[in-house]
Amino acid sequence: MLSMGAHLKLFNLKSVRTQCLVWCGALLLYCQVGVAQAQVIIMNGVAVAREAVAANGVTPHKMPGFSISVDEKKLNLLEDYERYIRHRMWEKALTSLKELSDTKSTSRLLPTKDGFLIDAEDRVFQALTALPAEGREAFRLFFDGKARKQFEDLTSSGQLLTPQAIQEARLVFSQYFLTSIGDDVADLLGNDAFEQGKFPQAARYWRAILDHHPDSNLSEVDLNVKYALALIRNRQLEQAASTIQLISQQYADQKVTLGGESVDPVVYLKALLPADSEKNSSHTLASTVLSNRLSQPLELTGKTLQPRWQVTFLDQTAEQAIANSQSDYYGRSKSYQTFVPPMAVDDQRAYFNFYGICFGVDLQSGKLVWRNAKFKDLGTNFNNYSFHQSSNLNQYHITVDGDYVLTTLIPQKEMNRYRACYRLIAYQRDSGKQLWQSNQTNESFISRPLIDGDQVYVISHQQNNKLLTLNCLQLKTGKKQWSIPLGSVVAGNSSNGMPIMPIPILRKTGDSLLILTNNGALFEINLSTKAINWAFRYPYKVDQSSTNHYYAALDEEVQLHSEGQMLRDANLVYFKEAGMDEVFALDLSVKKMLWKRPIKTSAQLVGIDQKNLYLLSRELEAIDRQSHELNWAVKLPVAAGGMSALLGPDRLWVFTSRGIFEISQTNGDVLEIYRGHDLTSLGGSIDFQRGLMLCISNQAVTAYPVGDSDPPPAAETDIETENKQP
């Protein structure tokens, strides 16, 4: 038995031991935590470093936003090839290249380093021509004999006679261009393409020789002349002019033989250029692409514009239903009050699509020619929660061409359906009689249909699928002729829990169709080959969190229904996507991004002239096309959707909540304000047709005569009482 003192000593000993254990444990734990923290820091450091690399050098198909599939196997081989080149391992590099050429593609596109996804064959060609001199020597050593043999077999008669021979020559060109016969095969292919009217391809073959075959035996002046000819035929006039200038400087006094005659190439080529081409070419093209450009200034007289007619389409019941949808929060996030219906106009009438109620108005008299349903029925349909869940206001479209008016809308009988689809419907232009309707049960049409001759191009998706498909339909019947899958969108969520699909924009020039996805990708489609020529990718951030509370303030871009827009001037394309805070300028002839700059998310491209790009939100901004600096900006009382502007030679007009503003293109000064005849509206879109300035607001369309056209007496139309259903 221990004494009391011994007990105390034992306790102290135990205490010391316990304390030691505790301190050791704490120290150990501290060290571990320290190590762990260090690890975290290191890991964070790595993560940061990796992110930085990713941000700088991320490949286009991995950028956030629109998803485009690429051939990963081929991409890996290409990366291997480029790595071997960097390490000067020629044998391995050329083996990879051979394998790359022989591998069958699962996807047509491969990424480049500047944001483009281009044809896999072109991309491999790019990689091939990027070989340094030492690599080229190795390439010839490896493949010259084989290439020469194949070429001799193909061209026994000196020209390519059969399609099979042409196909094989293309293979020789893509695989063995750097060998001694590469320039010859390119020249033959160029001649063949030119004869067939494929001028871009012809220019490409001849340019390849000039750029990548410096030791070619072919006459340089001949090649330059051929190249310039192809450019002129392809309307690439600026590039053609610079090539002619190069010929005049470098090959002065040299003659070429064209059509059996010896001619001065400079004189000959200049004669082919249209008169004053440098000034006119871009302007003419811009005018054709931009319908809002006016060649003559509008002559508006007096501050108080007198309308020729006005049609009010916002029925009282619809107005009340819209107000109800705000108070019960079903439709609060949609900003119905500021919705301005889309309009299409031809030489006789203007056509509108107001939440699926389509109607045509005679331009001269303002009489309602037809409508597909009664406006007061809208009120009933607006009370359906399902409608608010399915509706996407930017998905209502209307377009007119020939005898057809095409619309995308949710038919009234489907408004109460869960996840209702937007149908494509064709109406007879004069009578409003429905001609056909897309009948696939789950297919929803999202883009404005583009009518071209007997074809309609339109983009759709299956309602529960985010894959976008470009469709070519027969205009007369609506039957699908062909379709191309483009890729999948990354969609945000609405406060109703539904995905917000982006609205692609379609623009056709010649044989190519540009598609702006409004989701981080721009496509060029070759309509003759029905294939994607290239795609340009850029990061598009989508907020996919479901934190859109019904009580949250609406963003400016929602209130103004800002849309993405793409404007083209010859080979230059300017675009700004919906929901994005950057505007881009691309040069399509060299597939290069010229510049990009930050801009308000709510801004929408509304026009272009020789000097500026114009973007409208609650201010109108003029961005210099060359320097991409802001030349001027002016605040405007813009309060509704349908953002647009009419561009005259020196001024432009915008329809706002406080009237029509006439603005100087020089400095943005407001030169005049015409209050107009739609004083209670929030403003909206503006157009000009047949001597009439058409102002479409959230409640009415008003036509003001411009200039000295003799107006009939002003007419006001109440849309419900005036006309009947067809």
Binding site: Y551, A552, P598, L630, A633, K635, P637, G668, D669, V670
Partner: protein, 284 residues
């Protein structure tokens, strides 16, 4: 019993408190009475406003600082031109100073309100703004209708030129409702030369005090003597704002800022300039 006992325990404490309070009050009352009759005299002069003042904010915002500055300069120039083109006699534009700031966007605000980390990496817009005071003088010579027309012209012109007229109604936190900002006061009407009017009001106040004191003397059967002390209480605004005004006035006086010579009202009507004096008369 059990309920009463705590009360009984607290009773001495309560008595002490009452005693102390009483002790504080009683001596001062007694001292006042010993000196004579103290009365409060009120004087008020009503004057028609001679100035109307509107506040306008010119702003330029942009992701790029250069854009914000370009926008600001353009908007500022247009605003000034628009107001000058109105050719309103007596209209002057007073610059109230320029400011540069960068605001959090809505999502950053929401994150902050929820106590979450604010992502500052997100680009923030730069704002350059300037407040302009638009003063029209000599409005006391105008009829209400004429004045209203002038105000409407200024407001219209400002709105057309992109100037934010009136007080700032945008919520400090996006998406929230602030009742105090729900009403946008467009114009403030002002009386100038307040000091002169106050002098007249003091005269009235002293007369009023004399009258009141004489009445009290008559009622109590004593004879009113000479003035022992006068205390100019100042503006007799009967709301708490007057207290804050006094504090602000004291602060401005201390810091050397010129005290305003104007009295403002949001209503277009005669503005009262009221003062109060406390006068103590001796009893003979």
């Amino acid at each position: 019993m059990s309920g009463l006992s705590p009360l009984m325990q607290r009773l001495p404490l309560f008595a002490l408190a009452v005693f102390l309070c009483g002790g504080n009050i009683t001596p001062s009352s007694f001292a006042d009475e010993a000196q004579g009759i103290t009365v409060m005299g009120l004087g008020s002069i009503e004057a028609k406003p001679s100035v109307v003042e509107l506040t306008g904010v010119v702003i330029g915002q942009g992701q790029l600082a250069g854009d914000a500055v370009t926008k600001f300069h353009g908007n500022r120039r247009r605003a000034e031109t628009a107001f000058k083109n109105l050719n309103i006699p007596g209209l002057e534009i007073v610059e109230e100073g320029m400011s540069l700031y960068s605001s959090l966007n809505a999502s950053q605000m929401q994150a902050m309100m929820r106590g979450m980390a604010v992502n500052n990496a997100e680009s923030q817009e730069l704002s350059v703004s300037e407040t302009l005071k638009l003063r029209v003088t000599g409005i006391d010579k105008l009829s209400s209708q004429e004045l209203l027309e002038i105000i409407v012209r200024i407001v219209d012109s400002g709105k057309d030129a992109g100037v934010i007229i009136g007080n700032d109604t945008s919520p400090s936190v996006p998406g929230t409702y602030n009742a105090s900002k729900a009403r946008n006061t467009m114009a403030t009407f002002k009386v100038t030369d307040v000091e002169k009017m106050k002098e007249a009001a003091y005269e009235q106040a002293v007369k009023d005090a004399r009258t009141k004191a004489e009445k009290l003397a008559k009622l109590t059967g004593v004879k009113l003597g000479r003035v022992l002390s006068v205390d100019g209480v100042g503006d007799s605004q009967k709301n708490t704002a007057a207290i804050y005004n006094q504090i602000i006035s004291q602060y401005m006086a201390a810091t050397g800022v010129n005290q305003t010579e104007e009295q403002a009202s949001t209503l277009l009507k005669a503005i009262p300039i009221a003062v109060a004096v406390r006068v103590t008369y001796s009893i003979e």
